[in-house]
Symmetry: none
Subunit: 321 residues, 2 copies
Amino acid sequence: MSSRIDANAAAARLRGAQNILILTHRRPDGDTIGSAAALCRGLRQIGKRAFVFPNEDLTPRLGFLLEGLLAASGFVPGLICAVDIADVSLLTDSAKGFARRVDLCLDHHPSNVGYARELALEEHAAAAGEVVWAVLRALGAALDLPMWEALYIAVSTDTGCFKFSNTTPLAHRIAAGAIEAGVDFHRHNHAFFEAKSKNRFLIEKTMFDKMIFSADGRIACSWLDRPWLDSIGADDDDLDNLSTLTMALEGVDCGIILTQNKKDPAYKISIRTHEPADASRICQSFGGGGHPRAAGCTLSGPPEAAAKRLMEAAAAELALC
Amino acid sequence: MSSRIDANAAAARLRGAQNILILTHRRPDGDTIGSAAALCRGLRQIGKRAFVFPNEDLTPRLGFLLEGLLAASGFVPGLICAVDIADVSLLTDSAKGFARRVDLCLDHHPSNVGYARELALEEHAAAAGEVVWAVLRALGAALDLPMWEALYIAVSTDTGCFKFSNTTPLAHRIAAGAIEAGVDFHRHNHAFFEAKSKNRFLIEKTMFDKMIFSADGRIACSWLDRPWLDSIGADDDDLDNLSTLTMALEGVDCGIILTQNKKDPAYKISIRTHEPADASRICQSFGGGGHPRAAGCTLSGPPEAAAKRLMEAAAAELALC
């Protein structure tokens, strides 16, 4: 189990270290990459050697944040810091070797299993970016434009552009600072929250075409099979946050999306709920976890059978509410 | 022409007045109603008699903000204050009589024509709510939950939930204060930015299912037939702004939606374009008109033939760009 520390103590650990390696989670999102980029730049600013470990799942939409920050293969870390990673199972394949060697974790997931030696966990933060922001302040780093840009992407993407219920006052204040610093936030908002690629369009259309509902209309469920996703050349960006779309549907309190994995035939499950239904409780019964409003797990196919099991578990959760 | 004053001077005017009447604009949005509600409550808190003039266009979604604040017909105002109203042409019909008697205007529209005796205009503010926030601070009002709620709705609705390019640091900071004060922001975000009725969901799905694209992918076109719309009981709200959705699609520069009329078999055409394609020029060739980015016309069916003619005209317009 990790020792719990606060942002000041985390900053002290980083200040005492050299050769810092930052890890991000598999299928990386704006929070893990933005947090890693901001932290790495802040550490360099106060005179540290710091790098982000290459993430083989990284897509071009986020890749620009890590330009010039990636560790070369020969880099020998003196301190390993994970950002936004709740469990070692979320490390990328190439980072699995670090699983027992993580010195420090900066996170906001209540489900963090405590794999790191020390853990700075802010359970009520909307994003790990908030924890990184606090650590950067404690380090005395002067936030520059690229750091603000990375922090803006971290907090905006994890809050659905300040729309979700997890949005915090600090997330808004970080956005205010980023706009004041000159971040081209509208370009990012368009890219992350507005623009829809042709594949994304096809995927949403197919998802809604195949969607099934529980008899009372409170549970919506759909799935996407890998052969079809491969046939249109879909990438991970195209699949990002699909389950959130179900939350817009009138009467739906639980949305479940199954997406078949790339390298094995199992399905990655993403569940979203409206209060008070607990998505993490549903996912825990299948060995997964996450947040009350957004959680995930993995199930083997066929998708129709997995969907049935998930909808039954969701119905049981809704019955408790 | 108005005398330009700042928020402190506006607060001084209000502090010196009694019996204050607040005006909102026609087809009211979250900013004009939220601004009026917050200002009215703040004035009452510092001991003023203050009311909001009833707005006959008000819908239930915003109406709750003005509960207990509406002026009765006998109210004789000592000071008339307009919020978020750039021109007297934007007064509701029942408020037209005040057009030459507005003492003070709090606004953020650069296009404000200066009809009020004094004008506190913050041209770079995302919302009039930012000006009201500054006036309330200058008044020394202690913001309570209903005031924060009204201000949150003012700034969030005018920024598309902090997504549009007009979003300011102050808009974010007001949101931070509102969340700290306990505003149920997620409920409002859901109602204003997320919720999709079952009919809207069905209509969007059908629209995208039937959508056809030009060979180069730059033109998207779809249509909705009245018998089907009637069969699901669609109303005008369900059909609002459908063509805007086409503008999110990658590569699409012109979106065309045909919706069959209620009382005749013709189709109402709505066209949206990205710069520099001119939607009004396309519609003019069919006897319609509008703005460069959004225009309309009417065509008789069958829809496939009308779509073909419209797409040919759109292709001709795009060829000019």
